[in-house]
């Protein structure tokens, strides 16, 4: 069972629909301490980084505990940005901090037609093998809509360029993140979600304890 975290940042209908289409078992925990019972966590979200303030405190601690215990975590869009230390969009709100670096605003270039927000389909430049990108063709296009982005660090397994180059996909141990919307990215997006589900299943198979409730 996957925990789909709902902290009020945008509408989760599309994510739910995609997970359902892929046959995933998921539910939304009501209390932070419930997170420990799940075998994977997805943090979705759109909008301002300030919305993640709802996670500061017990939710953040509970999710950090499960991740440190080896539970796979997928951050989508704002949820991926939250994996980092923080964002210039809401400097006072700490991120989860499982990935190094800070999220900054894309600069764009109106004269060159590079508008911000970055909205639409852009290509993934692969930067090495990654479980989350399994079965995907290099330069696959996925659907973005965002104004802030995470830096290209060692965790970045696919980068995208819109004036500047930023992290589009991150993978670091059991931590995964996508800046775009896999639930809106056609077959490529569904494949990425499928890859995360496969990671989750491997984890539940290799975890002898039934306590995870997977």
């Amino acid at each position: 069972m996957i925990a789909l975290i709902d902290y009020g940042a945008g509408n989760l209908t599309s994510v739910r629909k995609a997970l359902t289409a892929l046959g995933a078992d998921f539910s939304t925990p009501v209390r932070p301490e419930e997170c420990a019972r799940y075998c994977a966590v997805i943090v979705p979200g759109v909008g301002n980084f300030a919305a993640t303030a709802a996670l500061v405190g017990r939710w953040r601690d509970a999710i950090a505990d499960t991740v440190h215990g080896g539970t796979p975590l997928l951050g989508i869009c704002l949820g991926m940005q939250w994996l980092f230390e923080g964002s210039d969009e809401a400097p006072d709100v700490p991120g989860l901090g499982v990935l190094e670096g800070r999220v900054t605003r894309l600069r764009g270039n109106a004269d060159a037609g590079l508008k911000i927000p970055h909205v639409g389909w852009n290509a993934l430049d692969f930067r090495g093998d990654a479980r989350i990108l399994s079965g995907l063709a290099p330069q696959s296009h996925v659907y973005f809509t965002h104004s802030y982005a995470a830096p290209v660090t060692d965790a970045c397994v696919a980068a995208t360029t819109h004036g500047e180059t930023f992290a589009a996909v991150v993978e670091h141990g059991n931590v995964f993140g996508v800046q775009f919307h896999p639930e809106k990215s056609g077959d490529a997006g569904l494949q990425i979600l499928r890859n995360f589900l496969a990671v989750t299943q491997q984890r539940s198979l290799s975890t002898p304890r039934a306590e995870a409730g997977c």
Binding site: N11, K17, K115, P117, V119, W121, K184
Partner: protein
């Protein structure tokens, strides 16, 4: 590189696609979910469902239509037509819309743009502008193009952006239905005035028109309805053409 988006618009009435359509390949002529799926296979980037009647009965059918389309395709889905209140928008979003398109209501009640942007994020709010040439500018019309809003399209687009709109859907009333090409001059004027994406609409008749609006018109996306319903210009054919002319598109 960010690609130029090709968006298919389906005008629906009581759950059925209308507007001069030939559905030779469809078993159920006019079924929006089936048509959306065909577009998806052909490589469409986005789908817009426009409720052209927006009556109460039609509204209930619309929710079913949105849900049916949203279960078949995993692409950005916009719903427009008669969205007048936060409740209307919420119904569309709850049914599976990723974005709502506001037209008349945005002008009569501009705070609705901000309300929806705060609730769902700017990326979920499109302001649709129906405009036609007037003197040396572009006048805005509302109520399906029947009433002069006494506003300038460029100035209104700027205001919509400042109020929280995430995209502008700009329809040329002069070109709509003529298949004589998009109004590139008007599109460029609006696109150059705002920093949010502008979707050009109205006048698509052949592949060259898309090239023109992506270059001269500085459009970020182009929307069409009837051209995609006919077999002579499929979405994949259009994209191959644009690709050969070095317009970045998702193949």
């Amino acid at each position: 590189m960010l690609t130029k988006r090709i968006i298919a618009c389906m005008d629906v009435r009581n759950g059925q696609v209308v507007k001069g359509v030939q559905f030779q390949q469809l078993r159920h002529a006019g079924d929006p979910a089936e048509l959306a799926e065909r577009y998806n296979v052909e490589g469409i980037d986005e789908v817009v469902v426009l409720d052209i009647t927006a009556t109460l009965e039609s509204r209930q059918a619309l929710a079913r239509t949105i849900s049916a389309v949203a279960h078949r395709i995993f692409l950005p889905l916009t719903v427009g037509g008669g969205i007048r209140s936060e409740a209307d928008a919420a119904a569309a979003v709850d049914a599976g819309a990723d974005k709502v398109s506001l037209n008349t209501a945005a002008l009569s009640n501009p705070t609705l743009i901000t309300t929806l942007a705060r609730r769902y994020g700017s990326q979920a709010v499109i302001v649709a502008i129906d405009a036609k040439r007037r003197g040396d500018g572009f006048g805005v019309y509302v109520r399906s193009g029947t009433a002069d809003a006494a506003r300038d399209a460029v100035e209104w687009a700027r205001e919509a952006e400042s109020r929280g709109a995430g995209e502008i859907l700009l329809t040329s009333m002069d070109r709509d239905g003529t298949r004589s090409g998009f109004d590139c001059e008007m599109t460029a004027a609006v696109s150059g005035a705002v920093n949010i994406p502008v979707i050009a609409s109205g006048g698509a008749g052949e592949v060259q028109h898309f090239y023109d609006v992506f270059t001269d018109g500085r459009a970020d996306a182009a929307l069409a309805a009837s051209i995609f319903h006919y077999d002579d210009t499929g979405v994949s054919e259009l994209k191959h053409y644009l690709n050969t002319r070095h317009i970045p598109v998702r193949m």
